[in-house]
Amino acid sequence: MANFSKSNVPQFSVDVYQNEYLPDGGREVSAIVTVTATGGGTVGTGVSAPHLYSPGQGPDAAVAIMVDCSGSMDYPPTKMRGAREATAAAIDAVRDGVHFTVIDGTHVAREVYPGGGRLAVADATTREQAKQALRRLSAGGGTAIGTWLRLADRLLSSSEVAIRHGILLTDGRNEHESPEDLKAALDSCAGRFTCDARGVGTDWEVKEVTAIASALLGTADIVADPAGLAGDFTQMMETAMGKEVADVALRLWTPLGTEIKFVKQVAPTVAELTDRRTEAGPRAGDYPTGSWGDESRDYHVCVEVPSAGLGQEMLAARVSLVIPQPDGSAQNLGAQGLVRAVWTDDMAASTSINPQVAHYTGQAELAQVIQQGLDARKAGDVDGATAKLGRAVQLASASGNADTAKLLAKVVDVVDAAAGTVRLKAKVEEADEMTLETRSTKTVRVKK
């Protein structure tokens, strides 16, 4: 059934925003590459109906839901109840024909449904059975997230489907395995399935959860109130159900003598991709982007080209989208964008900064200074934290990132947003700080 010739496979398009003009001797070329997939399914949102898809529509998918059932989930008991309800809501959002499984995660991983190393195929009956099985979930045990991921990988790979996705819920630190074990598990799962990660409550480690989402090309977020879990799970599942193409890579060709300064996703969130390059033929490399539904993402590509003389023009990078195949070849998705470099003595042309590049440079800095500011605050460096978070307030205000500005306002008292003058709040809710840290990478697009 997995068939890419179906009409609802999205069409990809690539747009490049840059100032291609360089002064004499200039070498650094920055461009924002907007990748848009259209014509596929509709990404689920909070308002769309859960059963958007009729059987047989869209490519086959498999979903694994990993629910933390460690002992701490019973404190408070609403947490376990919330997790159960959230999982039930997610199961409801699984469209007919999709393979799914529910995993109970403690210091070991257990299959809750359907069991026996298999995946269930969603229909009214299996969804009901799965929800019945959730009643068996009870808290007790430790936390070893690596084992959950490895089991999910084993189960997901048992079926021949196009899209493999996981949803992981945790409430505590990964205490029952070493960070190296988790890292090894992430490495072995990377590229095999995508995974969204959620932290519930405030006893989990932000960097752990964001690392999981980042390695597995999913989203990370906090659900401070267990009551909010169900809605969040529904939305995550609908987004997963909206995915049409998996394992898409951004292929970057650069000319001889070019140094790649960085490649990062900058919208909807900031995600560093520079180190995740896989070589793909002469002067080309692939950067993983995971699976795509009907959506648009922006990437910031920065390269340093060999300088050429005034009046010269060269191609600094060619961006295309491919699906790497196991045999080393790649299916080209057709769209491509050109990043150019043109040397000019027109100062007005070479000194202007492309608005998109400027905007996302600011958004990336925003994410960075929030992280640095919160780290400084934890380390007791009040001055450093004030400076960094002040800069963050300034950037968020200037770029119109209202959501981040609101989160910042819960951590600092804003004196002058435009100037970036802030005071650290004496008392900050832990949930607010964790929310800010988790969501610091969320960006807004350029106002057009």
Partner: protein
Amino acid sequence: MSQMPQPSQRTALSRCPSCEEPLESGDRFCGACGYDLSAVPPLPGDSPTLTLSGALASAPHPPPEAASVDWPHAPETSGSGKPAPVHLATDLPGTDSGGTALPPVPGRPPMPGLPPTGSPVSPATGVRFDRPAGGEPDEYPLQAPAPPPAGTATPPAGTKVCVACRAGRVDNDGYCENCGHAQPRERDHMEDEVGPLAAVTDRGLRHHRNEDAYAISHTTLPDRAPALVAIVCDGVSSATRPDEASLAASRAAGDSLMAALPQGTHPQQAMHDAIIAASHAVNALADEPGGAREHTPHQNSPACTLVGSVVTPTLLVVGWVGDSRAYWVPLDRSTAPARLTEDDSWAAQMVAAGLMNEAEAYADERAHAITGWLGADAYELEPHTASFKPDRPGVVVVCTDGLWNYAEAADELAEILPPDAASRPLHAARVLVGHALDGGGHDNVTVAVVPFPAPSQGAGSA
């Protein structure tokens, strides 16, 4: 191909066989690639003065030329006071189509493969063209109808290897897949010689593309008098797609004139109409979606300047919008040259209003801000036309500011214009473009050279 009764007006070998660079008569080596033209495959068998039988006496000489026995008639040049007509290299007898030597021709033994000997008297006499066995007569175009200039540039011959690194293949986008360098584009440098007039355009040394364009052609008026048409356009760099604007404008204006003149429209009226037609062509570009490569936050409509001239045996008409210019340089250099156009530019307006003198105005950084152009966002199109009846022969130089920035005054321009510009317009245009490049080539350069009066010969052969 049919036999031509007369030696062709243009040299039979009009382009370098190696790189397709247009050649001048008299060239020994290709000016672009250095190809040794004496090694060029011999001429096709339809050279007018050759006999295929090998019996010279029975050669079917064209009647009037027969008196001179073995030398073909050199093409006539018009006007007086010009250098004597010269023989084109290709008019000279060579070997027959079988590659064997012809019987010696009195005065010039045509030995195949013999390098030129002695000091040539004229530029033409030093060049020999050998003929390969079984030469293909259709290989070299003879007098063909003048094609539209923009369509004539030939693609680079052979495989596409990057000109910058000489290692990479050139991909479909025109960039090297190895070093990424953009490859020279067709419009970077173009030359054309159509009948008695010629034009050359060059990207210059500082701009990454050529946003100038030209259109040259010649036609016949209803009274069988010849008319020469030259249009030169300069794309406005601050607008989007200026290269497309200049190309569209030059083509539309050229086509309009070529349609109107043979029908008897007065050249000045025809020039006015041509500017209107060009402006419509540029306006139409604004409605098209911009190229994918142009992502500027505020898009200006494509725009360009235009200057054109129509030369007949008695009349010289110029028309312009913007700051591209036409100059008049009399053949007799003791008489004064003149600029024929008034720029639509900030500097010109300042001078006209008496607010600044010319030197001050052109030294100002706003000097080149133009106040008139073709394009959808032009305030109000004011085509300027002027008609002159020169009383002596001369040359009209139609050019963009890429040239006149390096020779602003008419005197300066006349100084750098070769004395034989009327008879060798392509050479003259190259010399002027070369002057701009030597001066720094800060802008695209385009020059058209049109002799006045329009010579009658060749005008009707298109």
